[in-house]
């Protein structure tokens, strides 16, 4: 019986402590009214959309990445944070200087508006010229922002 109580006292609480960060969100949104998004980030997303020439079949096939990471409830800020880091990987696609600037504005602007306690680990780099993935990512970012603003 003494051994059983030890198990419960010293076994379970550490387990809870370890698992807690996994379940809890460590990001929160600073710009709750979305002024920075509407006046700066959205302009850049629209400009990038115009520059990307993608066929209509692209948006129908959703990459696996978005099945793992989605704009779930109470995890919108975390998704945007992760998406901003993902965007940075496309900076070296070298389309045009303006294209690069707009990408930076979206990613760094998003990071400025979100405060995360934990740094995001960079996942596997996508194919460099995967414009379809980039377009889908931008659409997901836009949708997630609209979801946040509707909720407020």
């Amino acid at each position: 019986m003494f051994h059983v109580s030890f198990r419960y006292i010293f076994g379970i609480p550490p387990l809870i402590l370890v698992l807690l960060p996994v379940t809890s969100s460590n990001c929160h949104l600073k710009d709750k009214e979305g002024k920075g998004y509407k006046n700066v980030i959205l302009v850049s997303i629209d400009e990038l959309d115009k520059m990307l020439h993608i066929d209509s079949n692209c948006l129908k096939k959703e990459p696996n990445y978005f099945k793992k990471h989605s704009c779930a409830d109470k995890k919108e800020a975390a998704f945007l944070n992760r998406a901003a880091y993902k965007l940075e990987q496309f900076v070296k696609m070298n389309i045009t200087a303006d294209f690069e600037l707009h990408l930076l504005k979206v990613s760094q602007g998003t990071l400025k508006l979100i405060n995360c306690t934990k740094e995001e680990t960079v996942s596997k780099e996508p194919k460099k010229n995967d414009q379809c993935f980039l377009k889908t990512l931008l659409q997901k970012i836009k949708t997630c922002w609209n979801k946040i603003l509707r909720g407020h």
Binding site: K35, G36, N39, V43, L101, K105, K112, L113
Partner: protein, 397 residues
């Protein structure tokens, strides 16, 4: 000693701050032009001496926006509306970020110096009513802009280049359009003319149409019967008809029936005359010579004869007027005759007189007996009455 000012801009690196140096424009004025401004969050401006930051200041770039000055300011006078239309252009209409501006339009009389009137508008068009301006005066007008949104804030832009315009004189504004003047004078005179004509022709023409008088039988009759010509000889004297051929009819000849027989209209008249005729049967012998021939187109077609045929005994004396009816038979015969249109004769059986009435089916021969006398006398009396009426009418004329 070298002073450098740097500001935080977009960086290719995820972590860290990139600095860009400002260029010296004038003494104590530094300048930088770049697309790399991140318009979210604070930016830091530092004064550096070599590598050391002497002083830094954080600023929100979106709160220190100064728009570009408007241009192409034009003033257009609209005579019909009696106002001045002011239009101008601004480069911010094509920009992506600072699109919403407030414009300040200022105008004043040139001789008046500093008495500027200000009007704030959000679009690039303004209308100034003429009554707000002095007539026959020179005016100066200019415009400037400031950011007007919930995100971008800043300062007034520089004034646009001034534009000058002159207001029209007071008299010219009151001048009427010559065409309009002509039309108004013409319409006035036409109205006056209409009033005069209406008064003049009221009794003769207008009133009878608008308020027609109730018809008078005497006047109506006068209108119906035309005034005879001066040399027109009208006479109902039987001697004037001596040259006319009179054909008497003795027999009834059965022919096809005639429709539309007005039995009811004749029967009351003839019944009444029949009663009178019973007492006056002695008129019968002299009757052919006394009774004139009357043809009246009024009766034409109203009294079609049905073809009689059959036994005379079937006819009732009271129904004699209805020898017009199909009940009467051929048994009714006499020396006197009755024509459809009251044409009477005393002899011949020639029925050529009936030619004008092709739709008649038969010719009746009236019974010279008692049954016939009341009819003939009553008819004769009606004819006399008609003669009297017509002759008196003629005398009145």
């Amino acid at each position: 000693m070298h002073l450098l000012i740097c500001t935080t801009v977009l960086s290719e690196s995820l972590v860290g701050i990139d600095c860009m140096n400002l260029n010296k424009l004038q003494e104590e004025k530094y300048f930088i032009k770049t697309k790399k401004f991140l318009m979210i969050g604070q930016s830091k401006i530092c004064v550096k001496l070599r590598e050391e930051n002497l002083a830094c200041k954080s600023v929100e770039i979106v709160h220190i926006v100064k728009p570009e000055a408007p241009f192409d300011l034009k003033v257009n006078y609209r005579q019909r509306a009696n106002d001045f239309e002011v239009t101008f252009n601004t480069s911010h209409l094509q920009k992506k970020y600072v699109k919403q501006l407030m414009h300040d339009v200022a105008y004043c009389q040139e001789k008046d110096g500093n008495n500027w009137m200000h009007v704030n508008i959000s679009n690039t068009r303004l209308t100034i009513p003429q009554r707000k301006l002095q007539p026959d005066a020179m005016y100066e007008i200019k415009v400037r802009s400031i950011p007007h949104s919930d995100y971008y804030k800043g300062f007034w832009s520089e004034w646009s280049p001034s534009s000058h315009f002159k207001t029209p004189e007071a008299n010219s504004a009151e001048e009427m359009n010559p065409v309009l003047l002509t039309i108004s004078v013409t319409s006035f005179f036409s109205v006056v003319l209409l009033v005069i004509l209406a008064c003049a022709l009221w009794k003769k023409r207008i009133k009878p149409i608008i308020w027609p008088s109730l018809p008078d039988h005497k006047k109506a009759l006068e209108q119906l019967c035309k005034k005879p010509e001066k040399n027109f000889n009208v006479s109902f004297n039987p001697e004037s008809f001596l040259d006319c051929q009179i054909h008497k009819v003795d027999d009834i000849q059965s022919r096809d029936e005639v429709e539309n027989f007005l039995q009811d209209t004749l029967s009351p008249q003839l019944e009444e005359s029949e009663k009178q005729g019973l007492a006056g049967s002695e008129h019968e012998p002299n009757w052919p010579s006394q009774i004139p021939i009357i043809t009246s187109e009024i009766f034409k077609g109203e009294l079609p004869i049905r073809s009689p045929g059959g036994n005379a005994s079937a006819c009732n004396p009271s129904m004699l007027p209805s020898f017009w009816a199909p009940d009467c038979r051929e048994g009714i015969r006499s020396g006197s005759h009755v024509y459809q249109d009251l044409l009477l004769s005393s002899g011949t059986t020639d029925n050529t007189m009936l030619r004008p009435f092709p739709h008649q089916s038969g010719i009746l021969t009236a019974n010279p007996g008692v049954q016939g006398q009341p009819i003939l006398s009553s008819l004769r009396q009606n004819q006399e009455e008609a003669y009297v009426t017509m002759s008196s009418f003629y005398k009145n004329q």
